[in-house]
């Protein structure tokens, strides 16, 4: 029975094609303009580091989104004096699917689009990466309630804008959608200087340029990550299937995958009640509500003090400067998120899961949180 419950529980997660953005960070850009811009794309000679074709590009950049944020290998790259997060590599990244790793430190928090090019189920197929059988995002029926177009055009699916995740969804063009964001002072999104009033106010001051979303950005996009060094996501402890705060990371995912997040009837987390047994895996729901159950054992493997786990991140209901981020108290700081299970860009696992679902074997361990990880970081006794 326990095994069946796990299968149902996590199966719901698998179906949920949630895009969550934990990462490709773009803090305020510093460095020489020529790192990213050319005033004349026809410039001759062409600097080596402008590995580009197909231009000129809008905003006079030397490349498009993926062009700048891709590399043969690695999780970051250097452009002049700037460090650029890499979200797409041409060679397969290392991603350990067994043991207590789940890609932490091997890819950035958002994962890597490499796998989207290998399998439809392993990444968001933006900008022509790979192919997809979907004609619209899974769970898209409530899109207009979330400010997205009534009809999706998969041929336009890209990184930013109306048919993307980053930038202003009211603007279709991806360059225009994030215009100015890279040059915006985003100190309001940093742990030491977080400002909840400013956070989410404009694209450049939104978590990872996801307009309206609040969060605290890890400085290296979780290139290195631990309980005390990680992104901090905003969540909400909902008490119904109503749409959550428009500032949570899960709300961002729900803009396209709304049915997995909210709605009446056979939509959202539950049907009539809002609690176990769930109809879909809860998101924007605090595990503190069920602390007395197995969820009260949440914590990073190898710890007993409820240290935050970068394998299965959780969210906070309120964010503040210099807040405590290394441990949770089960009081609006253990909120289940879409990104608790998924990476936004891509992983080697189906459904862009952080871990390999096939390895989640209920009853195979007396201490699965410390021995298996994955689902069992929360489902600690399954």
């Amino acid at each position: 029975m326990k095994r069946a419950a796990v299968v149902v529980f996590v199966g719901i997660i698998v179906v949920a094609f949630l895009m969550v953005f934990g990462s490709p960070a773009m803090a305020k850009v510093t460095g020489v303009c020529s790192n990213c811009h050319t005033m004349h794309y026809s410039q001759t000679p062409w600097p080596e580091w402008w590995n580009s074709s197909g231009g000129p590009y809008r905003a006079l950049t030397v490349n498009d989104c993926l062009g700048c944020h891709s590399a043969n290998t690695g999780v970051t790259k250097t452009l002049g004096t700037s460090t650029v997060p890499v979200v797409f590599t041409t060679t397969e990244p290392t991603y350990t699917v067994t043991g207590l790793v789940a890609g932490v430190g091997e890819v950035l928090a958002g994962g890597n689009f490499y796998w989207a090019d290998t399998s439809d189920a392993k990444g968001h197929n933006v900008s022509g990466i790979g192919t997809t059988s979907f004609t619209e995002p899974p769970g898209y029926s409530q899109a207009t309630s979330y400010g997205r177009p009534a009809t999706w055009d998969m041929s336009k699916f890209t990184c930013a804008g109306t048919y993307g995740c980053h930038g202003n969804p009211d603007v279709e063009d991806p360059f225009a959608a994030i215009s100015g964001a890279h040059h915006t002072d985003d100190s309001c999104l940093k742990l030491a200087t977080y400002d909840d009033t400013e956070a989410g106010s404009i694209v450049g001051k939104s978590y990872r340029f996801l307009l309206g979303i609040k969060g605290i950005e890890d400085n290296d996009w979780e290139k290195t990550a631990s309980s005390s060094e990680h992104n901090v996501y905003l969540g909400e402890d909902r008490t119904s299937d109503a749409i959550s705060s428009t500032h949570t990371i899960s709300y961002l995912c729900a803009e396209c995958h709304g049915d997995f997040h909210s709605g009446t009837g056979n939509k959202g987390m539950d049907d009539d009640n809002f609690g176990s047994p769930w109809l879909r895996h809860p998101t924007d729901y605090d595990m503190g509500n069920v602390q007395s159950k197995e969820y009260g054992n949440y914590g990073a493997p190898g710890t007993t003090d409820h240290s935050y786990s970068v394998i299965a991140p959780v969210g906070w209901a309120t964010l503040s400067a210099n807040m405590t981020i290394d441990k949770v108290t089960f009081s609006d700081d253990t909120i289940v998120l879409c990104v608790s299970c998924h990476r936004a860009h891509g992983t080697p696992n189906d459904d862009i899961l952080r871990w390999k679902y096939d390895l989640m074997d209920a009853g195979s361990s007396d201490d699965p949180r410390n021995e298996i990880g994955g689902c069992f970081i929360c489902h600690t006794t399954k």
């Binding site: 305020k28 850009v29 510093t30 460095g31 020489v32 303009c33 020529s34 005033m39 004349h40 794309y41 026809s42 410039q43 001759t44 000679p45 231009g55 000129p56 590009y57 809008r58 905003a59 006079l60 063009d173 360059f175 225009a176 215009s179 100015g180 040059h183 002072d185």
Partner: protein, 377 residues
Amino acid sequence: MTRKIILFFIFIGLIFLPSSVFAYVSGPCSNCHTMHASQTPWPDEWSPEVEGNPQPYLLATMGSSPCVGCHSSSSSSTYYTLGTLKVPVVYYTGSAAPTSYLAGGNFWWVKEGKGGDDTKGHNVFYNEGDDYLSKAPGDLGFSNCSTNGCHANLHLPATGTGFPELENKYGCQGCHLNVKHHAKDHPNGESGLVTSADQGWYRFLSGHMSGNGHGVEGYEHGEWEAGLHDGGDHQGASDHNEYLGVPDTDGGYGFALGHTTTAFCTGCHGVFHDYQYDNGWIRHPSDAVIPNEREYQYVGGASHLYDPLSPVGKQDISDATPDTTVTPGSDVVMCLSCHRPHGSPYPDLLRWDYTEQIAGGGGNDKGCFYCHTQKND
């Protein structure tokens, strides 16, 4: 008696009129011309290469082209005095790079044996082809015109152009098509507004073919902005060139865009103007109004001081008085806002070192950051 006194003063006035109104190049013809290149003895101030080697326009000096002889100097990189004339220097022949130069820059950086970097100037010197380019960047297709046409290169005489006035021209005359040193514009060494063919157009920049009869209008600074190459302390001063700017970013090229310097540049570099916008800027705008919003509203700082290092175009220059301020919402960005046409110490003939433009670096509001006022914050 009164009538005689009036006539006397009118007579006196007419005597002085030419020097104050119709002055242009003045002084002994022998400053520049010799009627016979075989003249003996040959004056020291004339080029020895001309002796026995008659030159176009009967010039007595020469360099690699008729222009370079007079407009080069080993002692000054801005201007020198020839008799009573001030002569602008566009090619400094000293061994070290010039530390000061005119608004148009200096060819030192592109000249082989000097700077020798083809990315830093227009290749006007004879037989010194560009190491990288086979035609003008941004060419709209005119580079196929004739043999060695000016749209392709500037280092060899053009032939087969179909335009007698262009035949065998090259170098400086690729841009300064119709040089008129004796046009009636304004006194040598003094500033003045130039708006017509009779005045020779601004810096002798005029068109041919569809641009025939048209040229660049502008206010010429009498000393060609000597000493202002880095802006110096002239932010907010009025002694500078003033360029005409006509907002037009809808495409096209040539003087159909207006009698602006940018329109002239598009004659060879039209793509950079013709295809600037594609649901967003894909090339840096030129002849576009500096927005009075976002960071651009702060152009020139709180007082909007005009900076000769980052010039802008003015939509109305008819008052013949250079503005001391820049006006967002009205003034336009031009090709010359960023480039010097002759040459500069920097790649792409830029007015500043692009590799020193540091986003988020906290530097001063110079160069790119004159307009992009918050990118350096």
